[in-house]
């Protein structure tokens, strides 16, 4: 009988070009996603050394980080951003790479558009100069972020040099409560593992809870793997994966669909496969979560309080004190007493159609609190935006006092005009609450789309289960 393999092992074995010394291997990459911020120096390096791209049809590029989400027809007013966005367009044009510019209906955050176009498929390797590439692991693909030197390496050779990751299986069982989402599950797991607890590992999410999640919810979970230090998140292929893929633009049809489907179904961990680490979590233990600190593992449940120094492990007290100082919060303060200035619903974590539907269902017929200075909804892609508009979600948001914007990363990292001002406090559906992440001096609290929507209406955090 063949040896039982993990999903990671199958992906690794099927992409290994050659084993090198020291346990490293040359790994073939099926798809390369390229953004405007981390690629210019790679294209420049490639040209300077007179190298040619290995395989341009494996590359998809889109500007997502820097693009404005308002008044696109007027172009980009930020001159530095404009240079980057133009550099991406001209590099792609010169090399023949498919590129979605700001005015293309398919433009959006790469981790949203590749899955929705069907470019992301099971059994693939996918790399991108962005750490949230882990998102695509929801399809049973080996997907991870790389730096600019590796972008150049990948453009030149279609390969990366790497060593196998260790494997961690997180088995989640039971039913997530009403109002509890995969974002809460992700934050709960990060709190358990710590911000570096998954380092060196590919995390596979398994168990009946994961099987019952939609592809959108699985993407949110894999997206956040990097916040536990894991470069890779994975979910095995099942009927939900296949159903999501069917009919998407880049997915084969006819005989090729049958052939592809049969191939994809192999990408699950075999019964009896051995993982380096295992963790079991009960879905019932997960409640809506709000982060209070400056690392995604600094969080507590909505009915909780900002921890007291004695609740914190001694080696972590310094970071706790620094975080509370930066966040301007007092120990013991109730999470529901935290008042907000801004609300951001967006990012590659939570700006897919399902996220917007959930947020809209909370907002419907209500008004954003008058104390909220700005409440933004930024769809993850042009296709998400069009779908939401077809369903009338934009009206629900606008009627409630939200701003409805064009797709992009926006206030997830504040590289464009959408950002927090110093001292402003935000409920955000994004993935990082680092100091200054959403704007210098800004304070971010990570939550699910439902919790962000409820907070916008109340002006402070509230338990969405009681709204």
């Amino acid at each position: 009988m063949a040896e039982a393999k993990t999903l990671f092992q199958k992906l690794w074995d099927s992409h290994r070009v050659v084993d090198l010394d020291d346990g490293e291997a040359l790994v073939y990459i099926d798809r390369h996603l390229v953004n405007e911020v981390t690629s210019p120096q790679a294209f420049e390096g490639l040209g300077r050394r007179g190298r040619k791209p290995w395989r341009v049809d494996a590359v998809l590029a889109a500007a997502d980080h820097n693009v404005p989400t308002l008044m696109r027809s007027q172009g980009i007013s930020d001159q530095l951003a404009l240079v980057q966005v133009r550099a991406l367009a001209s590099n792609c044009q010169a090399l023949g790479i498919t590129h979605y510019g700001m005015d293309d209906a398919r433009q959006g955050i790469l981790h949203v558009i590749a899955p929705e176009l069907g470019i992301t498929q099971p059994g693939m390797t996918i790399a991108c100069g962005d750490s949230h590439t882990s998102t695509h692991g929801a399809f049973g693909a080996l997907a991870f972020g790389i730096g600019t030197s590796d972008i150049e390496h990948l453009l030149a050779s279609q390969c990366l040099r790497m060593r196998p990751l260790k494997t961690l299986r997180i088995t989640v069982s039971g039913t997530l409560g009403k109002g509890v989402s995969s974002k809460d599950l992700a934050l709960g797991i990060i709190a358990r593992l710590g911000a570096s607890g998954g380092a060196g590992h590919a995390i596979e999410f398994a168990g009946d809870t994961i099987e019952s999640l939609s592809m959108e919810a699985r993407m949110t979970l894999c997206n956040m793997s990097i916040e536990a230090g894991a470069r890779v998140g994975l979910v095995g292929v099942d009927q939900t994966t296949i159903d999501y893929l069917q009919g998407r633009v880049a997915v084969p049809s006819g005989d090729a669909w049958e052939q592809a489907q049969a191939y994809w179904r192999e990408f699950v961990s075999d019964e009896g496969a051995r993982f380096d680490r295992e963790l079991a979590i009960s879905a019932e233990s997960i409640q809506p979560i709000v982060t209070w600190g400056t690392s995604p593992d600094m969080s507590c449940t909505i009915d909780g309080r900002v921890p007291l120094p004695e609740d914190i492990e001694p080696t972590r007290r310094d970071s706790y004190t620094q975080a509370l100082f930066y966040m301007d919060l007092c120990p013991g303060m109730a999470i529901s007493d935290i008042r907000l200035d801004k609300v951001f619903i967006g990012s590659c974590t939570n700006a897919r159609i399902e996220d917007l539907r959930i947020a809209a269902s909370v907002v419907k017929g209500q008004r954003v609190a008058s104390s909220i200075r700005q409440a933004l909804v930024v769809p993850g892609s042009g296709m998400v935006k069009a779908q939401a508009e077809a369903e009338g979600l934009d009206r629900i948001f606008v009627d409630a006092g939200f701003e409805w914007r064009e797709p992009g990363c926006s206030m997830c990292l504040g590289m464009n005009e959408d950002r927090l001002l110093p001292g402003e406090r935000c409920a955000s559906t994004s993935n990082r609450n680092f100091e200054g992440r959403q704007g210098a001096g800004g304070r971010s609290h990570l939550v699910s789309p439902a919790m962000a929507a409820a907070a916008a209406i109340a002006g402070h955090f509230v338990d969405v289960r009681t709204c």
Partner: protein
Amino acid sequence: MQPFTTLDGLVVPLDRRDVDTDAIMPKQFMKSIRRTGFGQNLFDSWRYLDEGVPGADCSNRPLNPEFSLNQPRYQGAQILLCRDNFGCGSSREHAVWGIEEFGFRVLLGTSFADIFFNNCLKNGVLPIRLAPEVIDSLFVQVEQTPGLRLQVDLPQQQVRCGEQQWRFDIDGHRKHCLIEGLDDIDLTLARTDEIERYEQQRQRRTPWLFEPVEGL
């Protein structure tokens, strides 16, 4: 890439865990399409008291006197002593370009985030992992001993401080590339035949991945 063999350098402590790449190189400075010019904005929001503007000269900006990198005793440091999970967060290599341009060649800590670790090695910066007790003791020593220097010996895989010495691990290929200052793209392209062979086999197995797609 600048080769690395040995270094005798001054140490500066940065006593924080989970230092993320947004803190190392805030996003407003990543709008450059060049590989240089990042050193002056390294740790920008901790180093300066005002808000940094991309592309602007930093020589007259008010410095935060509390921040270790600004203190006179640490000027000219080439070794950064850090805590757990340094370089977490975004994959931006700009963080490493800033570190290198500022003058650091070695980072000493208990753990580094995966992508960041890899990015360092591709830019001639050596991240060294040592046991938590060693890192704790170095934080104490650097505080107590003005001008503390460490000797880093990559061929021997050793860090030395006076009588004390510690061995560190590094992957053989990475060590070789650092010592020789090699860019590994050439090494990979020397395997062109193997890559082509793999690709043909992949194309037979998953032909749809190699066919042009209408409407993309």
